[in-house]
Symmetry: C2
Subunit: 158 residues, 2 copies
């Protein structure tokens, strides 16, 4: 949770969550394939179920400094793939077996919208890189909130 | 079957199979993602169960003209991933959930070693390309044969 500074809209709720045990929001397991040109590394990300200030737990989100495509394959649980090109945002519901394609130039974030852990496989070109600062500067176009048994997308600014 | 000319060691058995209904050895379903630089297209290949002259049904196999990595994820059935760099060959058993990584520069072929259809997801850089002629010229280092309830690899030349 402490690694997600500046990403949840409700800063006070984020501070309280960090103070209250700093829970693990998500973990990433990476393949041994090197992140270098011509290689195609993979990772599996598992996002815990939860919300902070009502905002569903999510990954930081990132942009590729070298714009190249990436795929996500949902493995377990229910989630969403939020994409943002700096202007328009798109949302894709993810359930086991769904493949989400992230076109070159779109920032991307995953969200757990369910009550169990949500995990997915990512496959990405080794030369694409990861820019996490882009999201702090530009946002992701929308935020996902828990609403009873469902969820809804709201404007990024709240 | 007729598209696999020159690939099975037993040419007479191949000719007989073509004459006897020219069966479908495998099918490929491709994603709508373009095969162009920076994109990351995907496909699902399904290989029927069978053997020709004892040699298990397989894909043509190919090399990437622009050497880049590729991943295969087994979805259904049991198969194998045969890789060949022109000198050494490697074999990876594939069952649902197995991810096989094909390093840049290695030709690759999939084989159905089971009694049901074997299918797998492939993810590959859009600029890698497909060279099927390389295998006709250089071979794949080994061939997979049915042996009772199991299979074995034999030298490519027979």
């Amino acid at each position: 949770m402490s690694d997600l500074e500046g990403l949840f809209l409700d800063h006070a709720a984020w501070e309280a969550a960090v103070a209250d045990g700093d829970p693990v929001v998500y973990r990433v397991q990476s393949s041994p394939v090197p992140e270098t040109p011509r290689e195609l590394p993979q990772s599996i990300t598992t996002i815990s179920a939860g919300a902070t200030g009502g905002e569903l737990w999510m990954t930081k989100g990132h942009q590729h400094p070298d714009p190249q495509g990436e795929i996500y394959l949902a493995l377990h649980g229910t989630g969403g793939l939020l994409m943002f090109d700096g202007d328009e945002h798109r949302w894709l519901d993810m359930t086991p077996g769904t493949i989400g394609y992230i076109p070159p130039g779109w920032a991307h974030r995953s969200v757990n919208v369910g009550d169990d852990a949500y995990s997915f496989l990512a496959v990405y070109p080794g030369s694409a890189g990861h820019d996490y600062g882009w999201v702090l500067e530009h946002g992701m176009g929308a935020r996902a909130y828990r609403t009873g048994d469902a969820f809804e997308l709201r404007p990024y600014g709240g």
